[in-house]
């Protein structure tokens, strides 16, 4: 009894607030009335700062336009780890909510003290703090309220009032300025005394620098910086520096080696290298291959190629070595604290001597080259103490040197009974690891660190632990209720191509494979693919999104000649958002996705239009991956280095999309940014198979791949 009462009396603070308890790290109020809120999560184009501003405004009793969202900062703001994995609303949301609720309580207490009234009689609305006709404001009380105090574990986690902003489609705070063309990106940052830098990357992953003819730069208004195979230029004018790095390219001699696998045999490459085996929980006795076979066995193999982030802006970084020996860095990193620690590790500095501030970049879809560009700036700025150096990557380097999403290949097998229902399921997937983020496995994980005179190499990428959402095995466990199943991952221990996290990690491939195979099983059973799924599915939220998407798409109506319709379903990370997609495709001379009909359940919705925009974007990007994208290489060099060799979806190819939000208001919020990728790929693949009567199992589904599938089906 006592223990229970104790547990009720002491609510735990949200994890990110418990780890960063000082309220002033989250909220600062200035006498002019400015309310600054600084989360550890960063704006990546996904709208997180808008969503958090809605939560903050509700708790503070303010309008959204009275709250200023400040960029993440290693010394001034909370450490909330990475902005990744669709976790920002679920992690930062409760922390911002509780921090703001406690700040409000402290301001209310100060007003109550001044007016000698009970705090319960004080109202806060639109930033006005009032009791009857007495009125004050956050700004007026700012100097009297100390926020350099830890959050109170017994204090409020929420004001508890009816939300005004949460649940509404509050418009994005940052879009008007960006649409007006104002300088809001790190690329636009211009600091006093700033210089410009460019790095000359090696021509291939295995190359080492033999010789630089520095005399070629004579008279070019750019200074050469070299450390081992790391070489670059710094100068006062961007145009001159851009010219100098091209001169430098012609003035260097490299020793190159063949280190890359055969791009046309990724299946063989993934299966032949040494690998770590990762098992998930096995259910029942998996019986495939056992004698005597208990039923009919079906098998198929699927794959995806390496994928590039292909953000619209090549990465950028800014750094300045200060006169007092400290280092200031600006980066569009997904984790400024991790980047700070990795820089300190690489240069053997005390992390306290390094500060990193977030500055916005173009859309970020995972571990791209943001951190690498920041470290490039740090290395180049060493040559110009006291002056900031702004480093802009080229498009070719962005496409060739950003970490890729790993190629993957999966074998799926199922034993089915006489009715065609699954009795036993076996899944094996091969992949490089899905994270080599700064600081992984105790190494800096920064590109240029591996090219220095004393190189800090990067080991094979790791995978997040199974309990943290996994990498290779993300969403490898099917959502269906099979009596027996076994799911095994094989993570490569030698990786000639640098890979790391790209939106949804292994889930894109695993859901594509599982959901493609479900359609193959339905076909073999003579069943409707949606009915076949439902017959194996008890999870009511999963059923609801699948039924909603099917109904919205008019599932069951006959398809036109040359068109096909397919479905895909998953719950992201097996515990996040539910998403079902129905694709309508035309497959005649070219493959055209006409429409994607999506239903999603993200639990409690903070911003409905924000959810729609993330789902629409995720599905459109997944359509691009599914239909077009493949990192190209020969045995020595990455060869997809521009928009012609690495094409992405264009306006003329973008499908119409409708998104239905299946409401689940009482349930915790889940992120929307990675829910649609896997289901979209599967829906498109299934729709193409329905249209042409033959299946493409290796992404991308290009017209050539469809023709090859039709030809092999005819044999």
């Amino acid at each position: 009894m006592t223990a229970e009462r104790e547990a009720v009396r002491v609510p735990r603070l949200p994890g990110d607030l418990e780890a960063n308890p000082i309220l002033a790290r989250w909220v600062t109020v200035l006498p002019d009335g400015t309310i600054g809120v600084r989360a550890g999560k960063v704006e990546l184009g996904q709208g997180i700062l808008t969503a958090l501003s809605q939560i903050a405004a509700d708790e503070l009793g303010a309008r959204v336009d009275q709250v200023t969202m400040l960029p993440a900062h290693t010394s001034r703001g909370p450490d909330e780890g990475l902005t990744a994995g669709s976790m920002s609303v679920s992690q930062s949301g409760p922390a911002v909510r509780a921090a703001c609720a406690q700040v409000r309580a402290r301001f209310v207490a100060e007003a109550a003290r001044r007016w000698e009234v009970g705090a319960g009689r004080i109202a806060v609305s639109e930033g006005r703090i009032s009791c009857g006709d007495r009125v004050t404001s956050y700004g007026e009380l700012a100097e009297a309220v100390d926020l350099e105090v830890p959050a109170d574990p017994g204090g409020p986690l929420t004001h508890g009032g009816r939300p005004v902003h949460v649940g509404t489609s509050s418009p994005r705070l940052d879009l008007p300025d960006k649409i007006a063309g104002l300088p809001r990106f790190i690329h636009d940052l211009r600091l006093p005394g700033q210089l410009f830098g460019r790095v000359l990357r090696p021509p291939s992953p295995g190359a080492t620098l033999r010789d630089v003819d520095a005399t070629r730069l004579a008279g070019m208004k750019a200074e050469l910086v070299r450390d081992g195979s790391f070489v670059g230029v710094v100068g006062p004018r961007e145009a001159d520096v851009a010219r100098a790095v091209e001169t430098l390219r012609a003035a260097t001699t490299w020793e190159e080696r063949d280190t890359l696998p055969d791009e046309d045999d990724l299946r063989g490459f993934l299966r032949s290298a040494p690998a770590e085996t990762i098992e998930t929980e096995t259910i029942g006795q998996e019986t495939i291959g056992q004698e005597p076979p208990p039923g009919r066995t079906l098998r198929a193999t699927y794959s995806r190629p390496f994928l590039a982030h292909a953000s619209m802006a090549p990465s950028c970084g800014v750094a300045r070595w200060n006169d007092d020996g400290t280092l200031s860095v600006w980066s569009h990193s997904q984790g400024v604290h991790r980047l700070r620690d990795a820089i300190a590790l690489a240069l053997r500095l005390d992390a306290d001597r390094v500060e990193v501030e977030h500055a916005q970049g173009a859309g970020c879809y995972g571990h791209n080259a943001a951190d690498d560009a920041a470290f490039d700036a740090v290395l180049l700025a060493r040559a110009t103490p006291g002056r900031p150096v702004h480093v802009q990557w080229s498009r070719a380097d962005e496409l060739a040197w950003s970490p890729f999403g790993s190629a993957m290949s999966a074998d799926v097998g199922a034993v089915v009974d006489e009715s065609g229902a699954v009795r036993s399921w076996r899944y094996d997937v091969w992949s490089q690891g899905h994270t080599s983020r700064p600081g992984y496995l105790g190494v800096p994980g920064l590109l240029a660190a591996a090219h220095l005179e004393r190189p800090l190499r990067y080991p094979a990428p790791a995978d997040p632990a199974l309990h943290a959402g996994a990498g290779t095995l993300r969403n490898a466990v099917p959502i269906y209720d099979f009596p027996h199943r076994r799911v095994t991952g094989h993570r490569l221990l030698e990786t000639p191509i640098r890979s790391s996290a790209i939106r949804s990690l292994g889930a894109f491939m695993n859901v594509f494979a599982i959901e493609s195979f479900m359609d193959e099983l339905a076909l073999a059973a003579g069943a409707d693919p949606v009915e076949y799924r439902l017959a194996h599915l008890r999870d009511t939220r999963a059923r609801a999104v699948l039924e909603a998407a099917a109904a919205a798409a008019g599932w069951g109506a006959p398809a036109d000649e040359g068109t096909g319709r397919g479905a895909g379903l998953a719950r992201y990370k097996e515990r996040g958002a539910y998403c079902a997609v129905v694709a309508d495709v035309e497959a005649e001379r070219e493959i055209r996705v006409r429409r994607l009909t999506v239903a999603v359940d993200v639990g409690m919705v903070v911003n409905p239009d924000g959810v729609r925009n993330q789902i629409e974007g995720g599905a459109t990007q997944a359509a691009s991956w599914t239909l077009k994208e493949r990192v190209r290489f020969d045995r020595r060099r990455i060869t997809s280095v521009d928009w012609e060799s690495y094409p992405i979806l264009r306006f003329s190819e973008a499908p119409e999309i409708s998104v239905e939000i299946v409401e689940a208001p009482g349930l915790p919020s889940a992120g929307a940014g990675e829910a649609a990728q896997g289901p979209t790929a599967a829906a498109i693949a299934n729709a193409v198979a329905a249209a042409v009567g033959a299946r493409v199992r290796d992404l991308p589904i290009t017209p050539d791949a469809v023709v090859a599938a039709i030809e092999s089906a005819d044999l």
Binding site: A180, G181, R237, G617
Partner: protein, 157 residues
């Protein structure tokens, strides 16, 4: 070797010193402090740097100063007179038709040029006008809706 160039940017005559092969994009961003045209690829394949050059859409990363000299340049900052927004910019905000927003100024430039020559374009005409602009966040359909909205008769009035 630098030399002086004269051109008209957003209705204002300017004179800059640059090497003849310097891309117009560098001059806009670094000399004229107009950051709305953005670097994306450097070879005119993505649209992030689009401007109007004598009324036609051009990739400013791929226009050397010797070619830009004497011509009229309109950047995203100059689409609307004064500090206001062009109707297509307002429609992009109204439709929340961006995620990261890096590509959006080049798209606004393309869309505004379309609306100048076809004030009420069809959906197909919008798609064709924007097909040289890439968007990686996957906002294409919202953008098409926004341009159609900007071109609708109610807005034109």
């Amino acid at each position: 070797m630098t030399q002086p160039f004269e051109l008209v940017v957003n209705g204002v005559s300017v004179r800059v010193d640059a090497d003849p092969d310097t891309p117009l994009l560098h001059v806009l961003r670094d000399d004229l402090d107009l950051k709305g045209a953005r670097f994306g690829c450097g070879v005119g394949l993505c649209g992030a740097c689009f401007v109007q050059l004598d009324g036609r859409v051009a990739a400013s990363c791929d226009v050397p100063m010797w070619s830009a000299a004497g011509r009229a340049v309109v950047t995203v900052e100059g689409l609307a007179p004064g500090d206001g927004l062009h109707p297509v910019q307002q429609a992009l905000i109204d439709e929340q038709a961006a995620q990261c927003g890096y590509c959006i100024s080049g798209i606004a430039v393309s869309a505004a040029a379309l609306l100048d020559r076809d004030p009420a374009p069809s959906e197909q005409a919008v798609i064709e006008a924007l097909d040289r602009n890439l968007c990686r966040c996957g906002v294409q359909r919202r953008i098409v809706r926004a341009v159609l909205r900007a071109g609708s008769p109610e807005t034109a009035r």
